[in-house]
Symmetry: C2
Subunit: 314 residues, 2 copies
Amino acid sequence: VVGDDAAVLTLQPERSLVVTSDVLVDGVHFSDRTTSPEDAGWRAAAANLSDLAAMGASPLGITVGLSLPGHVTVAWVEQLYQGLVACLEPTGAVIVGGDICRSSVTTIAITAFGQVQPDRVIRRSTAQPRDAILVTGVHGASRAGLELLLHPELGQNLTEQARNSLVKAHQRPKPRLDVLPVLTSLGKKDESNAAASFSISGMDSSDGLADAVVQICRASQVGARLERSHIPYPVDFRSWLSPQQAIDWALYGGEDFELVLCMPVHLAELMVEELGQGAAIVGEITTENQVLLTDETGQFADEVLSLDRGFQHF
Amino acid sequence: VVGDDAAVLTLQPERSLVVTSDVLVDGVHFSDRTTSPEDAGWRAAAANLSDLAAMGASPLGITVGLSLPGHVTVAWVEQLYQGLVACLEPTGAVIVGGDICRSSVTTIAITAFGQVQPDRVIRRSTAQPRDAILVTGVHGASRAGLELLLHPELGQNLTEQARNSLVKAHQRPKPRLDVLPVLTSLGKKDESNAAASFSISGMDSSDGLADAVVQICRASQVGARLERSHIPYPVDFRSWLSPQQAIDWALYGGEDFELVLCMPVHLAELMVEELGQGAAIVGEITTENQVLLTDETGQFADEVLSLDRGFQHF
C-alpha cells in the first residue's frame, strides 16, 4: 500500500457537500440466514446512496470501515466489496478509503458523500399544507422478500417470477438516484414557478412509508392524510395477502429505499407521469396535527398513524 | 430527532475534498485500563484530524459510527462525545452525523472531511533526493506515556510534571493542524521558488517515525538517511532511558501524531525556526534503495531500517 493518509476528491463548482453514515452489525442489520456477503454489501451501499438521494445529492464516494472476527474469510470480504461496488458502479460513486480491523463481531460502517446545488437540497422540514405526497415506487416488496427468505413455505400461490422479484427487492434494493434528474428537469419546465424557491421536501422510506410521512410532518410541523387505496404495493400481494396485511407491509415494512416527496400537486402529477413504475400520489399535507389514513372506498375506518408501529429490524 | 437523512457542508471555492476514515475497537485501539471515554474520543478525533493535516487539509467535520454493547452506559457515550468535541473544537471542525447501533463489542468508526487547495495537497509519493526530512516535534512521548500507564512502577526518577506530560502526550495528542498556515506563509515568503510547484511531501507519524520515513521512501521510490543524534525525543528520556531505548521509542513508538515532511533544505530550516518545540531536520532523502540510520557521533554502527519493527497496537 503506497496510498496517502486520505483521498482527495473534487466537487463541481458551487456544490455543497452532503455526508451521511450508517453502521450495520451482523445479526442485526444483516444475517447469513438471509443475506449473502454480496447482498450485505449491496444493501449497505444502497442504504447510504438512498440517504443521499433523499437529500437531492449525487453520490461521489463512500468510505468503508470494517470490523471483522478472525474467522471471517478473505473470500467473504471480497464478496462484500463486490456487492458494494456493484451497487455503486452505475451511480459513478467509488470507494475512496476505509479501514479494516479485528473485532469479535462483523460490523460495516459506511460514510457516503455526495454533492448538491445548495438551493436544491431536499429537506424534511419544508413540507407545506396542500403539498401532494408522492412516493417514487411500490412499498412492501422488501418486507415481503424478507418474509419469503425467512419462511419459504409462505406464498405458495406466487409464481416463481413474482417470488424472485420480491426476494430481489429485499436483497438488491435500488436507491432512487434516477429521480434527481427528473426533479431538475421538471423544475425547469415548471414555468409558472420559475422565480419561486425550490419547493420539494421529503426523505427516503428506508424505515417505512408511514415512518417517512410522520417524520416529515414532525419536522415541518404539519399533518397529512394518506389515502389507503392510493398506496402502491406489488400486484402479487393481491393473490397472496389480505388487504390489511398488504397495506401493513406497504406502510410499515421498511427498506424499500423509495423517496417520499412533498411538492405542489401539479409538479407531483408531472413526476408520476415521468416516473411510472408504481410512482403515485398517496395523499396530501394538511394543517392538522396528525397523520390520518383514510379510505375513500369506505371499507376501513379512518386511522391515526403513529411511529409506534414503525419498522423494526428483524 | 427532526434531522435530515444527511448533513450539508459548504467548502470554500476551489478547494478539493479530502476524506479519511478509521475504525477503533475496544481492547485493540483503546482499553479501559489506559483510556477514559473522554480520552478515547479525543484520540479517535486526533487520529483522523492528523490524517487530514498530513494531506495539507483543513478539517470540516467528522461522522461517528458507534457500535455499543448493551452494558455501555449513556454516561460513557456522553464522555466519548465530550472527548471528540474537545479535540475538534479548536480546529473548527464539527460532528456532522453518525449512527449508533447495538453490537457485542464497542467500535468507533470515524470518517473525517477536510478541504485543501488542489495544488497544496501533501502526498507521500513526491519526495525528492536532497530534500530535508523534517519532523514537527518530539517523538516517543506517546509510547512513554502508555508504558507509564501500563506499568506505573516505571520511571521512578521522573518528576511528577514530566510523568504527567508524557501521559498527556499519550492521552491527548494534538494533531498538527497548526503547521499548515506556517507551510502556506513560508511558501509565500519563499520568493526564489515563487513559480515552482508545491514541493512538500510527507505523512503523519501515527504509526511511528521510522514507519513514516519508510512509507514515504516506498511511495516516492527514493531512500533516506536519518541521523540518530538529530531525532528529537522528550528531554526526560535522558534521565530515564538508555540512548538505545530512547531512540527505539522515538523511531517505533507511534501515535505521536506529528508530521514527517520532506522539502528543500532552505524551507525546512525556516520551518524549524518557525515551529520550535522539538521540530527538527532529522535526515535527508537520498537516491539509495534503503533507509539508513546513521550516527555522526560514531557510537552506533549504521543500521538499515525496515518496517518489520513498526508500531504494534498494545
